[in-house]
Protein backbone atom coordinates (compact mmCIF):
# COMPACT_ATOMS: atom_id res chain seq x y z
CA UNK A 1 0.00 0.00 0.00
CA UNK A 2 2.73 2.42 0.99
CA UNK A 3 4.75 1.53 -2.09
CA UNK A 4 1.73 2.26 -4.24
CA UNK A 5 1.17 5.63 -2.63
CA UNK A 6 4.84 6.55 -2.99
CA UNK A 7 4.71 5.48 -6.62
CA UNK A 8 1.68 7.66 -7.29
CA UNK A 9 3.42 10.51 -5.50
CA UNK A 10 6.53 10.16 -7.66
CA UNK A 11 4.58 9.92 -10.92
CA UNK A 12 1.93 12.56 -10.23
CA UNK A 13 3.84 15.66 -11.30
CA UNK A 14 5.58 14.26 -14.41
CA UNK A 15 2.32 12.73 -15.63
CA UNK A 16 0.39 15.94 -14.99
CA UNK A 17 2.98 18.09 -16.75
CA UNK A 18 2.87 15.83 -19.79
CA UNK A 19 -0.83 15.19 -20.00
CA UNK A 20 -2.11 18.73 -19.43
CA UNK A 21 -0.34 20.29 -22.46
CA UNK A 22 -1.07 17.20 -24.54
CA UNK A 23 -4.79 17.44 -23.85
CA UNK A 24 -4.69 21.20 -24.41
CA UNK A 25 -2.95 20.69 -27.75
CA UNK A 26 -5.65 18.22 -28.72
CA UNK A 27 -8.21 20.88 -27.82
CA UNK A 28 -6.34 23.27 -30.19
CA UNK A 29 -4.97 25.53 -27.44
CA UNK A 30 -1.73 27.33 -28.40
CA UNK A 31 -0.03 25.60 -25.48
CA UNK A 32 3.19 27.59 -25.19
CA UNK A 33 1.51 30.97 -25.56
CA UNK A 34 -1.06 29.92 -23.02
CA UNK A 35 1.66 28.77 -20.60
CA UNK A 36 3.60 32.01 -20.86
CA UNK A 37 0.44 34.05 -20.48
CA UNK A 38 -0.46 32.34 -17.23
CA UNK A 39 3.11 32.19 -15.91
CA UNK A 40 3.33 35.99 -16.08
CA UNK A 41 0.92 36.24 -13.16
CA UNK A 42 3.12 34.06 -10.97
CA UNK A 43 5.81 36.67 -10.52
CA UNK A 44 3.42 39.40 -9.44
CA UNK A 45 1.74 37.04 -7.01
CA UNK A 46 5.02 36.09 -5.36
CA UNK A 47 6.00 39.75 -5.08
CA UNK A 48 2.61 40.66 -3.62
CA UNK A 49 3.26 38.21 -0.79
CA UNK A 50 6.55 39.84 0.30
CA UNK A 51 5.19 42.56 2.60
CA UNK A 52 2.89 40.09 4.32
CA UNK A 53 5.61 37.51 4.87
CA UNK A 54 8.19 40.05 6.00
CA UNK A 55 5.76 41.54 8.51
CA UNK A 56 4.68 38.21 9.89
CA UNK A 57 8.12 36.58 10.01
CA UNK A 58 9.63 39.60 11.77
CA UNK A 59 6.99 39.40 14.50
CA UNK A 60 7.52 35.66 14.93
CA UNK A 61 11.28 36.00 14.89
CA UNK A 62 11.20 38.74 17.54
CA UNK A 63 8.81 36.73 19.67
CA UNK A 64 11.20 33.77 19.63
CA UNK A 65 14.45 35.68 20.08
CA UNK A 66 13.18 37.67 23.06
CA UNK A 67 12.65 34.51 25.09
CA UNK A 68 8.86 34.96 25.16
CA UNK A 69 8.32 31.62 23.41
CA UNK A 70 10.59 29.80 25.88
CA UNK A 71 8.66 31.34 28.75
CA UNK A 72 5.37 30.16 27.27
CA UNK A 73 6.77 26.66 26.82
CA UNK A 74 7.91 26.64 30.43
CA UNK A 75 4.35 27.43 31.49
CA UNK A 76 2.76 24.62 29.49
CA UNK A 77 5.37 21.90 30.02
CA UNK A 78 4.42 20.80 33.56
CA UNK A 79 0.76 20.72 32.54
CA UNK A 80 1.21 18.07 29.87
CA UNK A 81 3.96 16.22 31.71
CA UNK A 82 1.32 15.16 34.21
CA UNK A 83 -0.23 13.03 31.46
CA UNK A 84 3.06 11.24 30.83
CA UNK A 85 3.77 13.10 27.63
CA UNK A 86 7.52 13.58 27.10
CA UNK A 87 8.25 17.25 27.79
CA UNK A 88 10.66 17.43 24.85
CA UNK A 89 7.87 17.42 22.25
CA UNK A 90 5.85 20.23 23.85
CA UNK A 91 7.67 23.16 22.23
CA UNK A 92 6.62 21.71 18.89
CA UNK A 93 2.98 22.42 19.67
CA UNK A 94 3.81 26.12 19.87
CA UNK A 95 6.41 26.20 17.10
CA UNK A 96 4.47 24.24 14.50
CA UNK A 97 1.72 26.80 13.72
CA UNK A 98 4.22 29.68 13.77
CA UNK A 99 7.18 28.57 11.72
CA UNK A 100 7.63 25.65 9.36
CA UNK A 101 11.41 25.83 9.16
CA UNK A 102 11.74 26.47 12.90
CA UNK A 103 9.65 23.46 13.85
CA UNK A 104 11.34 21.25 11.25
CA UNK A 105 14.72 22.24 12.70
CA UNK A 106 13.47 21.42 16.19
CA UNK A 107 12.02 18.07 15.05
CA UNK A 108 15.24 17.18 13.27
CA UNK A 109 17.17 17.95 16.43
CA UNK A 110 14.87 15.75 18.53
CA UNK A 111 15.33 12.92 16.01
CA UNK A 112 19.10 13.39 16.10
CA UNK A 113 19.30 13.39 19.90
CA UNK A 114 16.72 10.74 20.78
CA UNK A 115 16.80 8.61 17.64
CA UNK A 116 14.18 8.46 14.88
CA UNK A 117 12.49 5.35 16.25
CA UNK A 118 12.21 6.50 19.87
CA UNK A 119 8.80 7.54 21.19
CA UNK A 120 9.92 11.18 21.16
CA UNK A 121 11.17 10.82 17.58
CA UNK A 122 7.91 9.24 16.49
CA UNK A 123 5.71 11.84 18.18
CA UNK A 124 7.80 14.70 16.84
CA UNK A 125 7.74 13.31 13.28
CA UNK A 126 3.98 12.81 13.46
CA UNK A 127 3.31 16.32 14.77
CA UNK A 128 5.56 17.85 12.15
CA UNK A 129 4.00 15.86 9.32
CA UNK A 130 0.36 16.10 10.23
CA UNK A 131 -0.39 19.83 9.92
CA UNK A 132 0.88 22.76 7.92
CA UNK A 133 2.23 26.05 9.24
CA UNK A 134 -1.02 27.90 9.88
CA UNK A 135 0.37 31.42 10.05
CA UNK A 136 2.38 30.92 6.85
CA UNK A 137 -0.54 29.48 4.90
CA UNK A 138 -2.77 32.29 6.10
CA UNK A 139 -0.23 34.99 5.28
CA UNK A 140 0.58 33.67 1.81
CA UNK A 141 -2.96 32.79 0.67
CA UNK A 142 -4.60 35.96 1.92
CA UNK A 143 -1.60 38.11 1.00
CA UNK A 144 -1.66 36.86 -2.58
CA UNK A 145 -5.19 38.17 -3.18
CA UNK A 146 -5.09 41.19 -0.86
CA UNK A 147 -7.52 40.02 1.81
CA UNK A 148 -7.12 42.13 4.95
CA UNK A 149 -9.93 40.77 7.05
CA UNK A 150 -9.50 37.01 7.37
CA UNK A 151 -12.64 36.64 9.50
CA UNK A 152 -12.45 33.43 11.54
CA UNK A 153 -9.82 31.65 9.42
CA UNK A 154 -7.02 32.08 11.97
CA UNK A 155 -9.13 30.75 14.83
CA UNK A 156 -10.10 27.68 12.79
CA UNK A 157 -6.48 27.07 11.76
CA UNK A 158 -5.14 27.34 15.30
CA UNK A 159 -7.93 25.18 16.68
CA UNK A 160 -7.14 22.41 14.21
CA UNK A 161 -3.45 22.72 15.14
CA UNK A 162 -4.25 22.12 18.79
CA UNK A 163 -6.48 19.17 17.92
CA UNK A 164 -3.85 17.75 15.55
CA UNK A 165 -1.12 18.14 18.19
CA UNK A 166 -3.14 16.30 20.82
CA UNK A 167 -4.22 13.64 18.32
CA UNK A 168 -0.61 13.05 17.23
CA UNK A 169 0.49 12.53 20.84
CA UNK A 170 -2.40 10.23 21.72
CA UNK A 171 -2.07 8.11 18.57
CA UNK A 172 1.71 7.75 18.97
CA UNK A 173 1.45 6.86 22.66
CA UNK A 174 -1.15 4.23 21.84
CA UNK A 175 0.79 2.77 18.91
CA UNK A 176 4.40 3.13 20.05
CA UNK A 177 4.12 3.82 23.79
Amino acid sequence: MLELISLISAWAIPVMITLIPLYAYYRKVPVYDSFVGGAKDGFGTAIAVIPHLVGMLVAISVFRASGALDFLMGLIAPLLERFGVPAEVLPLGLLRPLTGTGSLAYTTDLIRVHGPDSLIGMIASTIQGSTDTTLYVLTVYFGAVGIRNGRYALKVGLFSDVVGFIAAIIVCMLVFG
Binding site: S9, S34, G42, A46, V58, V62, D117, G129, V163
Partner: protein, 221 residues
Protein backbone atom coordinates in the same frame (compact mmCIF):
# COMPACT_ATOMS: atom_id res chain seq x y z
CA UNK B 1 -7.56 39.56 14.99
CA UNK B 2 -4.42 39.44 12.88
CA UNK B 3 -3.66 43.05 13.84
CA UNK B 4 -3.85 42.20 17.51
CA UNK B 5 -1.69 39.09 17.15
CA UNK B 6 0.95 40.94 15.16
CA UNK B 7 1.16 43.85 17.58
CA UNK B 8 0.96 41.45 20.52
CA UNK B 9 3.92 39.37 19.37
CA UNK B 10 6.08 42.45 18.88
CA UNK B 11 5.01 44.04 22.17
CA UNK B 12 5.47 40.86 24.19
CA UNK B 13 8.77 40.31 22.39
CA UNK B 14 9.89 43.80 23.40
CA UNK B 15 8.93 43.31 27.05
CA UNK B 16 10.69 39.95 27.25
CA UNK B 17 13.75 41.27 25.45
CA UNK B 18 13.89 44.14 27.96
CA UNK B 19 13.55 41.82 30.97
CA UNK B 20 16.00 39.25 29.61
CA UNK B 21 18.47 41.85 28.39
CA UNK B 22 18.19 40.64 24.85
CA UNK B 23 17.89 43.91 22.96
CA UNK B 24 20.68 43.02 20.56
CA UNK B 25 18.99 39.71 19.79
CA UNK B 26 15.72 41.58 19.27
CA UNK B 27 17.27 43.82 16.64
CA UNK B 28 19.04 40.91 14.96
CA UNK B 29 15.77 38.97 14.92
CA UNK B 30 13.98 41.84 13.16
CA UNK B 31 16.33 41.82 10.20
CA UNK B 32 16.65 38.08 10.24
CA UNK B 33 12.88 37.73 9.99
CA UNK B 34 12.66 40.34 7.25
CA UNK B 35 15.37 38.61 5.24
CA UNK B 36 13.60 35.30 5.73
CA UNK B 37 10.34 36.77 4.44
CA UNK B 38 11.99 37.94 1.25
CA UNK B 39 13.88 34.66 0.79
CA UNK B 40 10.71 32.63 1.15
CA UNK B 41 8.83 34.90 -1.26
CA UNK B 42 11.61 34.64 -3.81
CA UNK B 43 11.56 30.90 -3.40
CA UNK B 44 7.88 31.06 -4.29
CA UNK B 45 8.56 32.86 -7.57
CA UNK B 46 9.80 29.82 -9.46
CA UNK B 47 7.00 27.47 -8.39
CA UNK B 48 4.33 30.13 -8.80
CA UNK B 49 5.49 31.14 -12.27
CA UNK B 50 5.70 27.55 -13.44
CA UNK B 51 2.45 26.27 -11.96
CA UNK B 52 0.42 29.33 -12.88
CA UNK B 53 1.58 28.80 -16.46
CA UNK B 54 0.66 25.13 -16.36
CA UNK B 55 -2.66 25.89 -14.73
CA UNK B 56 -3.47 28.41 -17.45
CA UNK B 57 -2.87 25.71 -20.06
CA UNK B 58 -5.21 23.40 -18.14
CA UNK B 59 -7.82 26.14 -17.88
CA UNK B 60 -7.62 27.10 -21.56
CA UNK B 61 -8.11 23.44 -22.44
CA UNK B 62 -11.26 23.43 -20.33
CA UNK B 63 -9.75 20.95 -17.89
CA UNK B 64 -10.60 22.92 -14.77
CA UNK B 65 -14.29 23.07 -15.66
CA UNK B 66 -14.18 19.40 -16.56
CA UNK B 67 -12.67 18.46 -13.19
CA UNK B 68 -15.11 20.76 -11.44
CA UNK B 69 -18.04 19.07 -13.16
CA UNK B 70 -16.80 15.52 -12.67
CA UNK B 71 -15.61 15.78 -9.06
CA UNK B 72 -17.47 18.90 -7.98
CA UNK B 73 -20.09 17.05 -5.96
CA UNK B 74 -17.28 15.66 -3.76
CA UNK B 75 -16.42 19.12 -2.46
CA UNK B 76 -19.59 21.07 -3.11
CA UNK B 77 -20.88 20.33 0.39
CA UNK B 78 -17.75 22.06 1.72
CA UNK B 79 -18.18 25.03 -0.61
CA UNK B 80 -21.93 25.53 -0.91
CA UNK B 81 -21.65 29.15 -2.09
CA UNK B 82 -19.38 28.45 -5.06
CA UNK B 83 -21.47 27.96 -8.24
CA UNK B 84 -21.41 24.43 -9.62
CA UNK B 85 -18.85 23.94 -12.37
CA UNK B 86 -16.97 27.14 -11.46
CA UNK B 87 -13.22 26.86 -12.21
CA UNK B 88 -12.50 27.62 -8.54
CA UNK B 89 -13.75 24.12 -7.72
CA UNK B 90 -11.22 22.69 -10.20
CA UNK B 91 -8.38 24.55 -8.49
CA UNK B 92 -9.59 23.61 -5.04
CA UNK B 93 -9.61 19.94 -6.07
CA UNK B 94 -6.09 20.16 -7.54
CA UNK B 95 -4.91 21.89 -4.37
CA UNK B 96 -6.41 19.18 -2.17
CA UNK B 97 -4.94 16.35 -4.28
CA UNK B 98 -1.49 17.94 -4.23
CA UNK B 99 -1.69 18.24 -0.44
CA UNK B 100 -2.80 14.66 -0.14
CA UNK B 101 0.18 13.42 -2.13
CA UNK B 102 2.59 15.60 -0.17
CA UNK B 103 3.43 17.73 -3.23
CA UNK B 104 3.92 20.86 -1.17
CA UNK B 105 5.37 23.07 -3.88
CA UNK B 106 2.54 22.28 -6.27
CA UNK B 107 -0.14 22.63 -3.60
CA UNK B 108 0.65 26.25 -2.76
CA UNK B 109 0.34 27.68 -6.31
CA UNK B 110 -2.88 25.73 -6.86
CA UNK B 111 -4.24 26.98 -3.55
CA UNK B 112 -3.34 30.56 -4.43
CA UNK B 113 -4.96 30.14 -7.84
CA UNK B 114 -8.08 28.81 -6.11
CA UNK B 115 -8.00 31.88 -3.84
CA UNK B 116 -7.79 34.17 -6.87
CA UNK B 117 -10.78 32.42 -8.44
CA UNK B 118 -12.72 32.72 -5.18
CA UNK B 119 -11.76 36.38 -5.07
CA UNK B 120 -13.64 36.93 -8.35
CA UNK B 121 -16.79 35.79 -6.54
CA UNK B 122 -16.10 38.06 -3.58
CA UNK B 123 -18.23 41.21 -3.28
CA UNK B 124 -15.86 42.78 -0.72
CA UNK B 125 -12.28 42.35 -1.96
CA UNK B 126 -10.66 42.94 1.42
CA UNK B 127 -12.77 40.57 3.48
CA UNK B 128 -12.51 36.80 3.22
CA UNK B 129 -15.58 34.89 2.05
CA UNK B 130 -16.71 31.74 3.88
CA UNK B 131 -15.41 29.68 0.94
CA UNK B 132 -11.96 31.25 1.36
CA UNK B 133 -12.00 30.43 5.05
CA UNK B 134 -12.91 26.83 4.26
CA UNK B 135 -10.08 26.58 1.74
CA UNK B 136 -7.67 27.90 4.37
CA UNK B 137 -8.99 25.51 6.99
CA UNK B 138 -8.32 22.60 4.64
CA UNK B 139 -4.83 23.86 3.90
CA UNK B 140 -3.73 24.65 7.45
CA UNK B 141 -4.77 21.15 8.52
CA UNK B 142 -3.45 19.87 5.19
CA UNK B 143 -4.49 16.23 5.14
CA UNK B 144 -1.46 14.22 4.04
CA UNK B 145 -0.95 10.66 2.82
CA UNK B 146 2.81 10.93 2.54
CA UNK B 147 4.83 13.10 4.91
CA UNK B 148 7.72 13.08 2.42
CA UNK B 149 10.02 15.53 4.24
CA UNK B 150 9.80 13.67 7.52
CA UNK B 151 10.43 10.30 5.91
CA UNK B 152 13.57 11.77 4.36
CA UNK B 153 14.75 13.21 7.69
CA UNK B 154 14.14 9.90 9.47
CA UNK B 155 15.99 8.00 6.77
CA UNK B 156 18.83 10.44 7.17
CA UNK B 157 19.18 9.61 10.86
CA UNK B 158 19.22 5.87 10.31
CA UNK B 159 15.64 4.95 11.16
CA UNK B 160 14.88 1.22 10.97
CA UNK B 161 11.47 2.11 9.59
CA UNK B 162 11.44 5.61 8.09
CA UNK B 163 7.88 5.26 6.85
CA UNK B 164 6.67 4.02 10.24
CA UNK B 165 5.03 7.38 10.87
CA UNK B 166 2.74 7.22 7.83
CA UNK B 167 -0.11 5.59 9.74
CA UNK B 168 0.09 7.82 12.81
CA UNK B 169 0.47 10.91 10.65
CA UNK B 170 -2.55 9.97 8.58
CA UNK B 171 -4.61 9.45 11.74
CA UNK B 172 -3.50 12.75 13.30
CA UNK B 173 -3.93 14.74 10.10
CA UNK B 174 -7.38 13.26 9.52
CA UNK B 175 -8.48 14.25 13.02
CA UNK B 176 -7.02 17.75 12.54
CA UNK B 177 -8.79 18.13 9.20
CA UNK B 178 -12.12 16.99 10.64
CA UNK B 179 -11.66 19.45 13.48
CA UNK B 180 -10.89 22.22 10.97
CA UNK B 181 -13.98 21.41 8.90
CA UNK B 182 -16.18 21.26 11.98
CA UNK B 183 -14.84 24.56 13.35
CA UNK B 184 -15.18 26.16 9.94
CA UNK B 185 -18.80 25.03 9.73
CA UNK B 186 -19.46 26.34 13.21
CA UNK B 187 -18.10 29.82 12.47
CA UNK B 188 -19.75 29.90 9.06
CA UNK B 189 -23.10 29.35 10.73
CA UNK B 190 -22.30 31.89 13.40
CA UNK B 191 -21.47 34.61 10.88
CA UNK B 192 -24.58 33.78 8.88
CA UNK B 193 -26.68 34.30 11.99
CA UNK B 194 -24.99 37.55 12.88
CA UNK B 195 -25.40 40.54 10.67
CA UNK B 196 -22.58 40.94 8.15
CA UNK B 197 -19.90 43.47 9.22
CA UNK B 198 -20.71 47.04 8.24
CA UNK B 199 -18.73 48.52 5.38
CA UNK B 200 -16.48 51.25 6.79
CA UNK B 201 -18.00 54.18 4.87
CA UNK B 202 -21.60 53.76 6.06
CA UNK B 203 -22.90 56.85 7.84
CA UNK B 204 -25.37 56.27 10.61
CA UNK B 205 -27.54 59.20 9.63
CA UNK B 206 -27.98 58.17 6.00
CA UNK B 207 -31.46 57.85 4.56
CA UNK B 208 -33.37 54.63 5.04
CA UNK B 209 -33.80 52.12 2.28
CA UNK B 210 -30.73 50.01 2.94
CA UNK B 211 -30.87 46.35 2.10
CA UNK B 212 -33.66 44.14 3.39
CA UNK B 213 -33.34 44.15 7.14
CA UNK B 214 -32.73 40.91 8.94
CA UNK B 215 -35.49 40.30 11.45
CA UNK B 216 -33.79 40.60 14.80
CA UNK B 217 -36.02 38.13 16.54
CA UNK B 218 -34.59 35.32 14.44
CA UNK B 219 -31.01 36.45 14.93
CA UNK B 220 -30.55 35.76 18.60
CA UNK B 221 -30.47 32.11 19.47
Amino acid sequence: MINGIWLGMILIGFVFAAVNGRMDEFTAAVFDGAKNGVTVSFGLISVLVFWMGMMRVAEDAGLMKLIAKALGPVVSFLFPDVPKGHPAIGYILSNMSANLLGLGNAATPMGIKAMQELQTLNPDKETATPAMCTLLALNTASITLIPATLIAVRLNYGSAEPAGIVGTTLAATAVATLAAIAADRFYRRLTLLRRPPKPPAVRTGSAGGGGPAVPHSSVKG
